[in-house]
Structures are given as structure tokens and as C-alpha cells.
């Protein structure tokens, strides 16, 4: 309100703030989303810079130090082969965050391309493409991942690819809906009338105009991917020792936890929940400040 009053006296304030500014301001006012961003920054610093301060051997097992309860020397105890759990949480965080981030981005990219092409093409092409999406959604991801676990032992890149390929479906639906609403807009019609190609319409106009939908989708997608990475080890698809990730630590601790070794599962479980919550909170905040529709 104050801007309106000031604007009569101050010419500078006559210029309306850019939409990006308005969104940023709205996002910064969302305390939950800011907390989410802080959690993620802390998680990244912990995982990538942490090992510089807290030196532990995460490649050679040490059975003399196996299954130690938390102490000053090992604040989070040690696991069944003597790895320091705090150090392991840092190393595992790198894998979890990298795989989750890459898979979330990959899924959004595939979904964006698929959804915008389907929505733009229309007709039977769209019908076939979207029925394929329906079919993909009808097969729950965990079941596919378990079948893959039975037949293959992928490396990290393979894992990113697999996770991306099982989770692009929801973004593709969002992107199709977005494309449908943009397709008949005047500027797309004009572009076509002056001879612009279909590819140009999609790449230069529809996708850039959907950027808010895409940004919200990718945030939720990263949250989902980090959660899915946690499931992957449980299903038997995880990275191989001595490498690990948070989900791998959790599933290795499963049998140990019954023996009262809570430190093998509680820290790993909590960081997963914290980071996934953080990405979901940012997604909520972005969705509210962009005022776009989205899932949930």
C-alpha cells in the first residue's frame, strides 16, 4: 500500500517491480520454504565439506572397531565392519544427494519434452503418448525397481538413468496440461502464421513460458528421487560397498537395529526425512509464490 502513496511523490517507485522480484520476495516471506533451503545448504556442506574436518577411513574395514556404541571418538558409533557412522553419513550424503538431484532433473527433462510434444501435437499422437504415460503410472515404481534388482547390478550412472526413467510420468502430465493452455495463445498462432516451425514454438516459446511449472515440478521430483534412492538399497539395487548412500546405511542397519544398535538407523533415517521434507517445503513455497498449479 505504501508504494501507492509514495508513487505520487517519487517517480522511481512508478516502475513496477519485475515479476521475478515479486516472486522472490514472496518466496522469502515463506519461512518454511526458507528453512527448507537452509536445511539443504547445511546438508550439502555437511556431505561435501564435512569429510575435510572429520577425517575417517571409509574404504578399509576395521573389525576391531565394529559395532561400537556412540562415544567421543565415534559420535554416532560404528557399523558392523567398523566404519565410523558420522563419516559414513557424510560420504553417503554425497551419493544420495547427487543421485537424487540428477535423477530428479533427468525425470523432469524427460517429462517436459514428452509432455510438451504430446500437448502440442494433439490428436492421436497425443492420445498414444498420454496412454503410454497412463500405462507407466499403472505399474508402481517399486515393483519395477525390484524386478530390475533381480536382473541387474547398475552403477551410479545406471541408477540415475533407471530412477529417471521410472519417475518422469507426473512431470509429463503437468507439462502437457501447461502446453495445452499455451498452444492456442496469440503469440504461438502468430509465430506459426509467419512461418515459425513447430520445434521453435515448443523450444523457444512453450517451454520458457512454462518455467515456473517446471521449477516447481523439479523440486518435488528431487524430493521424490531422494526418497526413492533410499528405497533402492532396500530393494537390493544400491551402490556397492565400500561406497554407500543414506538408504544403503539404513537397509544395512535394518537387521542390526533389532539388536539395539539404534545408531545404525536413526541418524540415517532422520537425515533422509529432513532433506526430503526440505525439498518438499521449497516446492510448496515456490508453487505458492509462482501461483502455479502442481501436484499435491
Amino acid at each position: 500500500m505504501s508504494t501507492v502513496v509514495e508513487s505520487q511523490f517519487e517517480p522511481r517507485a512508478l516502475v513496477a517491480p519485475s515479476p521475478g522480484r515479486v516472486m522472490l520476495r514472496r518466496f522469502l516471506r515463506n519461512r518454511v520454504a526458507i528453512a527448507g533451503a537452509v536445511v539443504i545448504i547445511l546438508a550439502v556442506v555437511f556431505s561435501f565439506a564435512g569429510p575435510l574436518l572429520w577425517h575417517t577411513d571409509q574404504t578399509h574395514t576395521d573389525l576391531t572397531a565394529a559395532n561400537l556404541a556412540p562415544s567421543a571418538r565415534h559420535p554416532l558409533g560404528t557399523d558392523a565392519v567398523g566404519f565410523d557412522e558420522l563419516g559414513r553419513l557424510m560420504v553417503g550424503g554425497r551419493t544420495s544427494l547427487l543421485i537424487g538431484l540428477s535423477a530428479g532433473i533427468l525425470a523432469t527433462v524427460i517429462g517436459t519434452v514428452w509432455g510438451s510434444v504430446a500437448g502440442y501435437a494433439g490428436g492421436w499422437v497425443e492420445a498414444v503418448m498420454m496412454r503410454i504415460v497412463d500405462a507407466g503410472i499403472a505399474i508402481p515404481a517399486l515393483f519395477i525397481l525390484l524386478v530390475i534388482a533381480a536382473i541387474a547390478q547398475p552403477n551410479t550412472a545406471g541408477l540415475v538413468l533407471i530412477l529417471g526413467l521410472v519417475s518422469w510420468l507426473v512431470p509429463s502430465r503437468l507439462m502437457r496440461a501447461e502446453t495445452l493452455s499455451l498452444k492456442h495463445s496469440d503469440y504461438i498462432q502468430t509465430l506459426r502464421a509467419i512461418g515459425g516451425s513447430h520445434a521453435r514454438a515448443i523450444v523457444h516459446h512453450i517451454v520458457p513460458n512454462s518455467v515456473s511449472t517446471i521449477v516447481v515440478a523439479v523440486t518435488f521430483q528431487i524430493a521424490d528421487s531422494i526418497l526413492l534412492v533410499a528405497y533402492v538399497s532396500y530393494l537390493g539395487l544400491g551402490v556397492k560397498s565400500p561406497d554407500t548412500d543414506w538408504g544403503g546405511m539404513l537397509s544395512q542397519g535394518l537387521s542390526q537395529a533389532y539388536n539395539g544398535r539404534w545408531w545404525l538407523i536413526v541418524p540415517a533415517g532422520l537425515v533422509i526425512i529432513l532433506v526430503v521434507c526440505a525439498f518438499n517445503a521449497i516446492g510448496d513455497g515456490l508453487r505458492d509464490s509462482f501461483e502455479v498449479g502442481g501436484r499435491r
Binding site: A138, P140, V147, I151, L227, Y234, G247, I265, I272, N280
Partner: protein
């Protein structure tokens, strides 16, 4: 568009989706490295033994022929025989599926019973402490790996406090599931957790939307008590979309059943699938995925139809 046409069109779409699912599943399971023969006969098998096995199982025929044979059998309700269990896939699924349905239905019911009043109360007490707390709980439930949640439940309520058994009811028959209700508590609670999160979040925002509508203002202006507005009008209007959501949540529920059944050793279809994956029992994997996908497609079809029957406003959206 009249309801009949809409129904027929949705039905045709569903058939196409099921067809695509069969092709995808078929291709996925038949492009395995080494093929099923390796899985059944073991690493020691000679090439001759593998060739014999492939011939006996029809695995040496062209893929299209195999697919045609398989679809023909499928239409007659024949899903093949399990490689590792001495039974037909359809008999295995017929025995296990009802148990999984009991588990998922109880979980869904519990999820709704908790989430609907919770979401409604949150909307009524928006931005108060209770709302923030409930939001935090649903957020955490939404972001927790289910196997971790189930494990914590077992450790807390079965080990630390020896109140409930950590193993689900065993036994072959459906009746045996109910013979030991205490053993059902932890599996059902675990299965309900993610649904409380999904339904609760949805219910809260749906109720908030409704509270801002004109009919609420009119009712308040007429002097209708707020409680009555909540329980009669807002509850009904905001819970109806949950019926549609329930249909769409079927894949999530089956995914949950997979984890819950493995964790609590509950002899349903999820555990059948889990064990089949460990022994590369492809006919069983194929059959289970097919049944789940058809259930999902049927679920979203029914959800859409139910929604258009219950809420006459969607008719306008359809045409």
C-alpha cells in the same frame, strides 16, 4: 457429452492402457540378460540344458509369437506356471490377492478415518499451533521411507514395549488373517501412514477452499453455528474428491503393501512378488504386475465415473 459416451470413451482408453502395460511388461521381462533359464537352472547349467529349457518353455520362438501365445492364454485366465513354486500363477495370486486387499483396505480406511477429521480441523484452526503441528506430522510422514517407519514401529511397539507382535498373521486362509487381530495392528498402521499424509494434506487444502466459498458465508450470515457448517457442508463438499483420490492412490497402496508385507512377513501378493524377484520367477512377477496394473487402471476408471455421478458439475467439464 452424455454419461454413456463418456463411460465408453474412458473404457476404451482403459483397454488401450492395459494393452500397453502388457507389451511393456512382456518386453521388460523378456529382454533379461541370460534369460529365465539361467535363473532357474543356475549358473552351472550347460548350454544344452538351457536350450532344452527354452524349447520346453517356448522361449525360443519369436517374441511376437510368444506374446500372441501369452495373450491368448491370458484371455483364458491362464497366467502360466511358477518356475519355483509348484503351482499356477493364477492360483497363487487368487490365494494371496485377497489378503493384500484386506491389508490395503484396512489401511486406507484407517488413513481416511484419521485424515478427514484432521484436515477439517486444521482448516478450521488455520495457522494456529495445532494446524502447524499437524502439518509438520503429515510432512514428516510424507517424507519417511516406509520401511524405516515400519521398522521403528516394530522396535518401539514390539521390542521396547512388548505390546504387539512383530509378525503379521500367518496361515493359508483368509479367515486366518482375522484370527489374530493384534498381529494386524502394526502392518495396518504402517500401511496407513503414507495415506494419512496424502489424504490429510489434500483434505486440509480442500476444506480451506470450501471455507472461502459463498455458501459458507451465506450459512454464517443466516446464523448457522460454525460447527454445523463444518460437519454438514464443508465436510461433504471437501471429502467427495477424496473418493477420486482413493482410486488414483491404488499404485501407492500396492507399493506400500510390497514394503509392509516384506517387513512383517504378511503372506499376501507383495510378499509373493518379493520372493519371486529373489528367485527370478518371471511368470509370477509378470502375473502380479499385470494384476496390479489392471487394478490401477480399473481404480482410476471407477474414480472418474464415480466422481461424475456424485458431482453433477463435472458434466460441464466433460463436454
Amino acid at each position: 457429452m452424455p454419461l454413456v459416451w463418456y463411460t465408453l470413451r474412458r473404457l476404451a482408453q482403459a483397454v488401450v492402457v492395459v494393452f500397453i502395460v502388457t507389451v511393456v511388461v512382456f518386453l521388460m521381462l523378456h529382454s533379461l540378460p541370460g534369460g529365465p533359464a539361467r535363473g532357474i537352472l543356475g549358473a552351472e547349467a550347460t548350454p544344452q540344458q538351457i536350450a532344452d529349457f527354452n524349447h520346453a518353455q517356448g522361449l525360443d520362438k519369436p517374441l511376437t509369437t510368444q506374446y500372441a501365445i501369452w495373450i491368448g492364454q491370458l484371455l483364458r485366465g491362464d497366467l502360466g506356471r511358477s518356475y519355483s513354486l509348484n503351482a499356477t500363477v493364477s492360483s497363487l495370486i487368487a490365494e494371496r490377492l485377497p489378503k493384500t486387499l484386506v491389508l490395503t483396505l484396512l489401511s486406507a480406511l484407517l488413513g481416511l478415518v484419521v485424515a478427514v477429521p484432521l484436515g477439517l480441523l486444521q482448516a478450521a484452526r488455520r495457522n494456529r499451533l495445532s494446524d502447524y503441528l499437524a502439518t509438520a506430522v503429515t510432512f514428516v510422514l510424507f517424507s519417511t521411507p516406509l520401511f524405516f517407519f515400519g521398522l521403528v514401529m516394530i522396535i518401539v511397539f514390539s521390542q521396547t514395549l512388548p505390546w504387539l507382535p512383530a509378525q503379521a498373521p500367518q496361515g493359508q486362509t483368509l479367515a486366518s488373517v482375522f484370527a489374530d487381530p493384534a498381529a494386524l495392528v502394526l502392518p495396518v498402521l504402517t500401511g496407513a501412514a503414507p495415506l494419512v499424509a496424502v489424504f490429510g494434506r489434500y483434505m486440509r487444502s480442500s476444506a480451506l477452499d470450501n471455507l472461502a466459498r459463498d455458501y459458507v458465508r451465506t450459512a454464517r450470515a443466516k446464523g448457522t453455528p460454525f460447527r454445523r457448517i463444518l460437519s454438514r457442508h464443508v465436510l461433504r463438499n471437501s471429502a467427495t474428491p477424496l473418493i477420486t483420490m482413493l482410486g488414483y492412490q491404488i499404485p501407492v497402496m500396492f507399493g506400500g503393501a510390497l514394503v509392509v508385507e516384506q517387513l512383517f512377513n504378511y503372506p499376501g501378493m507383495g510378499l509373493l512378488f518379493w520372493n519371486a524377484a529373489q528367485s527370478s520367477d518371471f511368470p509370477v512377477l509378470l502375473g502380479c504386475i499385470l494384476v496390479i496394473s489392471i487394478a490401477t487402471v480399473a481404480g482410476s476408471l471407477l474414480a472418474d465415473l464415480a466422481h461424475s455421478l456424485i458431482d453433477p458439475r463435472t458434466k460441464a467439464a466433460r463436454s
